[in-house]
Amino acid sequence: MTPPPPHPALLARRARVHRIRARVAAGATALFLAAFSGLYVQMATGHDPVLGTSTAQVASATTSSSSTSSSTSSTSTRDSEPMTTAAS
């Protein structure tokens, strides 16, 4: 014996809940991607609060044809300070 079909109002409510969940999930994902992109750019441009200017120095060191002295300065603060477990 097949169960009776759900009431249309119940189906409409389920669809609404599903739509809300999908929107919130999409919003949270968009927020995550925005935060990740922002932090990545911040790091790449040398403005990261922990990595400091080291990453930018890495970039400049790789693009320039200068000496080894510039590449030695590319060690990140994070490498010298193991204190980066924290996120917000």
Binding site: R21, F32, F36, V50, V58, R78, A86, A87, S88
Partner: protein, 178 residues
Amino acid sequence: MTEHLFWLTSRSAGIVALLASSASVGLGLLMAGRMIRGKGAELRSIHEALSLATMAAIVIHAGALVFDGYVNLSLADVTIPFLGDYAPLWTSLGIACGWALIALGLSYYARARIGVARWRALHRWTVFVWVLSIAHALGEGTDAGRLWFLAAAGIVIVPAALLLAVRHLPSTPTQASR
């Protein structure tokens, strides 16, 4: 730069967890104080979805650190308070808040078994845990001193905090109550 990807993932997920939990708490306070008009079922669904997003973000926030090659944390370090060496107070507070928010959030699905009145009493603790999680974010967060972070967090935290204050302020006596 790729060696920092999991670390950036953790930071980003932490930001999402903070903002989503603040929005969820704010909406919950609006509903509890009957300060918002609308379809109750839809508001509850948004509140629930924001809570689920918060829980997912918390799992990613902690889980990504396990895969970060540099910090070299074990699963136990990010799930058991006072096990790790780095900033034990703030980290442990974050771990405890993460577990508490997940437990309180999932308790919604067991409210029939717990009992609705008891579940409501339990659910009120979410606000307390949320306040502690803000302390974790501001105390330990890598980006806590950044203006963009404070502005983004303030947009959702301040309204929720004001709603919390309004809810717990003693009501002024009116003429009628004399």
